[in-house]
């Protein structure tokens, strides 16, 4: 069994295979724990932000300013009864939330959090992220199908159509980044951005960034594109029949997907864990701040954007959603690729 070549594929330089495995496991545990903590507190953050935007307070009772609310929610969901519809497809029903959470959490593996800290430094990182984010839709479609409920089914169908429409524009919007950096490796994309004095691809790729963010909203089923789980029409959409821990898995999956998309935006457009070289030369003391701080700050800003948009924008109508995806975003992202190619060829 040639396990050494397998781990060599992930680009870690240790020769001893056991050290490799242990380091890998430690990294996985750290990322998983930190990721779950962020998911839990992003729900608190969301409720606080939306509460204050609606001139309310949000959670206030559980702990200081409701800080223990995510833990209370988690405990409650964990001990709730697990109901499986008698007329549903039991195997698929149980499989769906697992696929959903697996796809989103495994996407965290290729995200570089700061210099040298990435679980799997693979050369096809971006492609892997696309694959995983569209795999998450399988969980949604399967849950919609297996619940044997019309609301869940409609939610699943909408999600299928939405993912097909927006996955393309999402991938195409990042082609410009790939062309500028010349790689699919996320670490190398960040390093390529450091060669520019402004240190981020947001400036040459601002159209791509806007398209990417719109598609990321659609991909993670967030308002204004939350048609698969439209509360007001479909009760809860594809996970309407789920309860207890299985519901919590979908919930975790959705919030992890949001964090993954924010991480991707930060890595590809905002320079990842780095600050622009111009700022670093102007304020040299900033070099002492660990890179993960900048990375997390940028991710939090994106999460805030998610909540901000959710508090503001109403849901799209279904045909508007489709026409926006096919008639606007895909042509625009194609145009962005062409223009980027021409500019790169000239310069």
């Amino acid at each position: 069994m040639d396990i050494s070549s397998f781990y060599g594929f992930f680009g870690i330089q240790y020769t001893n295979i056991y050290v490799q495995i242990i380091i890998m496991l430690i990294k996985i545990v750290i990322v998983f724990a930190a990721g779950m903590l962020h998911v839990a507190y992003s729900t608190w953050f969301e409720r606080k932000i939306i509460g204050h935007m609606q001139v309310r307070l949000g959670p206030m009772r559980t702990g200081y300013h409701g800080l223990l609310q995510p833990i209370a929610d988690g405990v409650k969901l964990f001990f709730k009864e697990d109901i499986i519809p008698s007329s549903g497809d039991k195997v698929v029903f149980q499989l769906a939330p697992m696929i959903s959470i697996f796809a989103t959490i495994s996407a965290l593996a290729v995200i570089p959090f700061y210099e040298g800290f990435v679980i799997a430094n693979i050369n096809v990182g971006l492609l892997y992220l696309f694959a995983m984010s569209s795999l998450g839709a399988y969980g949604i479609i399967m849950s919609g199908w297996s619940s044997n409920s019309k609301y869940a089914f409609l939610g699943g169908l909408r999600s299928a159509a939405q993912v097909v429409s927006y996955e393309i524009a999402l991938a195409l919007s990042l082609v410009g980044v790939m062309m500028l950096s010349g790689t699919l490796n996320l670490v190398q994309i960040v390093e390529a951005q450091q060669k520019l004095w402004y240190g981020m691809y947001i400036i040459p790729q601002c159209f791509a960034y806007i398209i990417f963010m719109i598609c990321a909203f659609a991909e993670t089923n967030r308002t204004p594109f939350d048609l698969p789980e439209a509360e007001s029409e479909l009760v809860a959409g594809y996970f309407v029949e789920y309860s207890g821990m299985r519901f919590a898995l979908f919930f975790l999956g959705e919030y992890t997907a949001m964090i993954v998309m924010s991480c991707l935006a930060v890595t590809c457009f905002w320079g990842g864990w780095t600050l622009p070289p111009a700022i670093m030369t102007a304020f040299p003391f900033l070099a002492f701040v660990p890179g993960v701080v900048w990375f997390l700050l940028k991710v939090y800003c994106h999460l805030f954007l998610y909540y901000w948009v959710r508090a503001t924008v109403p849901r799209f109508r279904y045909d508007h959603l489709m026409s926006l995806g096919w008639k606007v975003l895909i042509p625009l992202s194609l145009a962005n690729i062409v223009i980027t190619a021409i500019v790169k060829y000239i310069s």
């Binding site: 932000i49 204050h52 935007m53 609606q54 001139v55 309310r56 307070l57 503001t312 924008v313």
Partner: protein
């Protein structure tokens, strides 16, 4: 639907979305309107209709009810039960006066219609209970409600705006209602003319001697 160039520019630049998002951001930094209930309580304005109480006459120490049955008749949810009794001297007295507060809709008609201003909907609102009996107010309970309400009140006299409903011709009101002054709350009445009219006997229990509500209300008038 025609799409003009202006519309396209508006959409492409997210003008409307940005306007909306500026508003929500502005709202985020405004002061929340939430009242954290048990710690903070909202200000109660005059005319609040809460827990039922009988006004306790400070001189007799009893309720002022004259058993006219008007409140029981007007009550839309019919939750007031009154029973008139006769004592040994064949004088009528209030044997039973019950308000089933769980059925009450707090319209305040009973307070408005009462000719002697005996009834009041106080500003108390926190009287939940796990037992229905606790929210079934008998005559004694109504007087107790009044005492509890008065104990919290920081004033010498009390006036309820429903005792003299606005827009009703005062000349058509019963005399007692027309001339009702704010009721004194402490044992020493603040108003000298009331003191003069009323008997100077202290508020001790002489139940059979005087059929409290009726006589008292006449004297007040």
């Amino acid at each position: 639907m025609t799409v003009t160039a202006k519309d396209i520019v508006r959409r492409a630049l997210f003008i409307d979305t940005i306007k909306g998002m500026t508003l929500t951001l502005k709202m985020m930094f405004s002061k929340p309107v939430t009242i954290q209930y048990p710690e903070q309580k909202r200000k109660i304005y005059p005319g609040f209709r809460g827990k039922h109480a009988f006004v306790r006459n400070v001189t007799t120490g009893k309720e002022k009810c004259i058993m006219c049955m008007k409140c029981s008749n007007i009550c839309p949810s019919q939750c007031i039960y009154i029973k008139k009794g006769r004592d040994a001297n064949n004088k009528p007295f209030l044997e039973q006066y019950d308000i089933e507060a769980l059925r009450c809709i707090y319209c305040g008609y009973c307070v408005e219609v009462c000719p002697v201003c005996a009834l009041v909907l106080t500003e108390e609102f926190g009287y939940v209970s796990t037992s229905k009996d606790d929210i079934y107010f008998t005559k004694e309970r109504m007087l107790k409600n009044w005492d509890e309400f008065v104990a919290k009140l920081d004033a010498d006299e009390y006036w309820n705006k429903f005792w003299r409903p606005e827009g009703v011709d005062t000349s058509k009101m019963p005399k007692a209602k027309r001339e009702q002054a704010p009721v004194p709350l402490r044992t020493m009445p603040a108003r000298p003319e009331e003191k003069k009219q009323q008997d100077n006997e202290p508020a001790e229990q002489k139940p059979e001697d005087k059929t409290a509500g009726r006589t008292q209300s006449k004297e007040t008038a």
